[in-house]
Amino acid sequence: MLQYRLEKRAEPSRIMLYAAPVLAVVLAMIIGATIFAAIGYDGIAAVREIFLTPLTNSYKWQDLAIKAAPLIIIGVGLAVCYRANVWNIGAEGQYVVGGVFATGVALATYGMSGWWILPLMALAGAVGGMAYAAIPAFLRTRLGVNEILTSLMLTYASVQLVYYLVRAPWKDPMGMGFPQTRLFSEAARLPTLIPGTIVHVGVPIAIVVAIIGWFVMKRSLMGFQVRVVGAAPQAARYGGFSHTRTIWLALLISGGLAGFAGMLEVSGPFQRLVPGFPTNYGYTAIIAAFLGRLNPIGVIFASLVLAITFVGGELAQTTIGLPNAASGIFQALILFLLLAADLLVRYRVRSVSTSPRGATT
């Protein structure tokens, strides 16, 4: 009789390292289709609408690009952070505070013009994200407080900050009582890349961020430091790399990038701060970082896949009446299956016969 046994590989399989995410996405489609069929929807149509239509419908490409851009930028930062074994899961909060800081600049320069306003907003966004990530960094390095919990709690608090600002001090005086800021002036709005589309300059910037991130992680001593601290903290100390400084570095990079993404969102698609500004990009980017194998180039592809599920999810809502939550289910399934498929990177499945050799006594 045959049964299967897991055997540890001498070296992790490189093929499986890259095949596992693809396998996870494909399996998520199959299982997702089954689930939706089981609860009374057309499962195959759901998968088609969510995963294929955004690709075949060229009108949706610009949607994909502007949804993928923030995911890439935040995901690259998180990939660096997780490589260092620092678990910043509050990127959503850092993204929100980045947006808030950028809004502050936009409102302060309201009515002004000048090329410097957008760079200043970008700077403010990055600084805001960094400042917000500095809180868990400080608490972790000084007091040993777990960064998972602090960064997440700060996210919940950041949402309240947005509510407060748009309700009271930053409320648009001409907004007919709506809780939102005034529309940014022209100089504080992100220019579009291709006239007549919604594709803004954040899209190429995201690609550049990923390439720089990849280069830094692959070739620089700083990237080496992050990798070695994450893989073996004792060896890092032996090699002369400070654990404390690496935690700060990881949180500041991921916080800064998340804050920058917040600035791009608020000055691009939103062009004002509204209560709906926290859009969960910071959470979805966690999936993007894992699905991209914590590799900045991988994060580009992973973010595209996730952007497809966002756009496809919206499409499926209108075309086949699939609920709003469907894309979230697919994203979680992808992450679950990726974590499961990772086993194949470290182990191989081998069939063994159950009767041991020579057991004739």
Binding site: K8, E11, L221, A231, A232, A235, G239, G240, G358, T361
Partner: protein, 521 residues
Amino acid sequence: MDANMPARLALEGITKAFPGVLANDNVSFSVQPGKIHALLGENGAGKSTLVKMIYGIMSQDAGTIRWNGEAVRIDNPKQARRLGIGMVFQHFSLFEALSVLENIALGMDAKIPSRELEKRIRAVLETYGLKLDPHRIVSTLSVGERQRIEIVRALLLSPKLLIMDEPTSVLTPQEVDQLFGTLRQLASEGCSILYISHKLDEIKALCDSATILRGGKVVATCDPAEETSRSMAEKMIGTSLADVEKNASRQFGEPKLVVSRLSTKSEDEFGVAVADVSFSVRAGEIFGIAGVAGNGQNALLDALSGEVRGADSEAITLDGHPLGLLGTTQRRKLGLCAVPEERNGHAAVSEFTLSDNSVLTARDRKGLVGSGLINSGAARNYTGEVIAEFAVKALGPEALAGSLSGGNLQKYIMGREILQSPTVLVVSQPTWGVDAGAATAIRQALVNLAAAGSAIVVISQDLDELLTLSDRLAVINDGHLSQPLDVDGISIEEIGLLMGGVHGTSQETRIVAGDDVAVSA
């Protein structure tokens, strides 16, 4: 003895394969009632795998285990204990945060009320003259006391066979004596003992018979009383021993490393810190530091390498430059390199390639980085050099460190530091868990580095190794370092007593590293 009486334990053709390795190949031998039987072999010879099968932690691929003549299947430790097999592990299977009583209760299969259990524990302690407080939390106990928990746990089950896996590696000579007394008493009461070790003199002193394993196969079964340590060592290693070659007329230069009144604070609450340590090492000299595990060796290495920085700049000087406040990177730049005891995750990153592991410590002295970027070509070249020079068996510079065997990884690590030609090299346990061939190569490389004018500090628990390598030797005990002794004309008794923290008294010890001990100069 009655010839018809079946052996307490008999192994017939035991075979166990792991991916790529045949850990046990057709192993057969038997242990008689009331006898102490040694299982002897180098690291990696398959001893641990074999006893794990006897104790039911692993199952054999082929072969039969007979217990008092009957073939048995031992699927798990519970079943082994039910048969009457007890085991004391090399790495104790204890729970730090739990009490002695709870630890023992966890090793018992029957549910015994704690009051009743405590009564029984006290009875066992009394019978064998052992000292142990059942209510202490394990994390507060010494290594010897911890081993006693394991022994009491095994004895409570009145075992018919007791397996002891490398029991003396963590004990002082005096504690070893005590243990041997307990084991002899047990054997006289009819309990068989399977004693696993690679220490030949212990086996000669204690055991009635011995089985020698090499590469997973039985190479000999013999009576230790009729063998010399050297003859058993050669059976164990398979070739005649290559000795380390040392120039008898070597000369020492100026002091290179001077340590004066070095103290550090312990990082975790159970660790031992370094207290007021002073010594100096001259150019061309090898300075040995002996001691039982856990007496501050790791803290001393951390303090010397710069992983833990002291408060006094002048506590460590190299060629007169104060190093006390500098980190590892600056110390390396100035010529002080170090190799910690633990290979995986400390001296090397298993998940990284060998090239990346070279960047870890050789980046400045070998120019592997420039303007913040890694020069991967230079890293590969240097790694290739280490691999070639030290005969490291690896697929190349891009092989993962974790894919190398322990001995090869250690050769790579030592080579990585030695080829940086450090002025001072500090190494801890340089041949721990390494096969004899690699160990000799590493020791020779250290001797050659000293001959080229470097000052070397070797921290080791292997007294034979220190006697082979060192010119002078000191003993570390509870963070304090003894006065250095000249290795020529040193007395083992004296070292033994210093290791146990006893100063100035003389007492006979059974462990004597005679002239015929393996691998001596």
